[in-house]
């Protein structure tokens, strides 16, 4: 069996999409699918699908039948969610964006659980909550982390704030960052696992493609 750890980052980034499509197929009562059919639905190529599936484990399509949808879902769930334990997560920055994206943490299906939220602004902190979680002052970060050991931080603060807080978070045992700030924290903290969501960059790329169409 291929070790799942060998999957490259581009493959890893495609796995959730396979998982979504396969759940859709299962819901539609489809039990097996060929790489060609799956590729057509997903807008990719059969060869890409087969290569990706080769990276993730013991996934053998059967000639004339295709891949078992159930088996693929089960393998992907093991890879994406492990034993089902949800990753304890804290939100840093409870402005409009922080409140909106924290829904993806409190939703059961992504493998995370929101255990605390922090901000510096008094108006956000006093008696406020985000998706039911009380908002604490960032000064309480050390005390909270020492007691509750969160593993993931969602950074919804401006660049300067992210730069100031990320060293503290790494020192407090945070291993993963869902980073909405423009601070590229992989450079100073190469050991951290970082998923950047740079919304401004995404918009600028879209603009480039629209303005420079062939």
């Amino acid at each position: 069996m291929t070790t799942p750890n060998k999957a490259s980052l581009p493959v890893i980034k495609r796995l959730p999409k396979y998982y979504r499509y396969l759940l859709g197929l299962k819901a539609a009562g489809i039990t097996s699918i060929s790489s060609r059919e799956l590729a057509a639905q997903m807008g990719t190529t059969a060869s890409q699908v087969r290569q990706d599936f080769n990276c993730i484990g013991d996934v053998n399509g059967r000639q004339g039948i295709g891949y078992s949808v159930e088996n693929l879902i089960s393998i992907l769930e093991q890879l994406l969610f492990g034993d089902g334990e949800r990753l304890p997560t804290i939100l840093i920055g409870c402005g409009r964006l922080g409140k909106a994206v924290s829904r993806f943490i409190t939703t059961n299906t992504n493998g995370y659980t929101l255990i605390a939220a922090f901000d510096v602004k008094e108006e956000e902190i006093n008696h406020r909550t985000v998706n039911g979680i009380p908002i604490r002052h960032i000064d309480q970060l050390e005390e909270f982390c020492a007691e509750h050991h969160p593993k993931v931080a969602v950074l919804c603060v401006p660049r300067d704030g992210a730069e100031q807080v990320s060293g503290r978070l790494v020192a407090l045992g945070i291993e993963g960052f869902w980073n909405f700030s423009h601070y590229d924290l992989s450079v100073p903290y190469p050991e951290a696992v970082v998923e950047n969501v740079h919304l401004g960059d995404s918009l600028m790329s879209l603009g480039y493609r629209l303005r420079n169409r062939g």
Copy 2:
């Protein structure tokens, strides 16, 4: 001169990051930089930087001096923002996420302007606004687009809603989509320019990397 149109998608997606870093250098009073120094700051390689700059136009670093920061910024601004005309944009879905991300459209620096917002929920529509723009019912979409010719749509609706509305939007002349829904609209509409921001997928990838660390 290399034609900018030849830049591949991965290069295009890196351009905003170069632009951000170069603006930072300019603000710090730095007028030239080598590919090696820029790469070290950005967490990439000098070779990557040189290759990327070769793709975007007449960008020649000078031996022992490096690239002109001002020249690079000017080339990138031309590519990313063209003549400075902002892309007229509409928001589809004015829930918490739609309201949060529309800030990136109303901010002057990304090259867009928000001209309308639509929803189906009565409680969002009646006398409500999003960043100062009144929220309209989705039934008014055709009339509005015929008159104002938006070019970009931000999709902050669930998968089903996106599937229902995207054909209408393409028919109404929308060329670019900033797509937060899980509907992969590039498959049915290959002519559309689509920038997907799949937040759930992003979280699942992060989870995979945390759960399967070497």
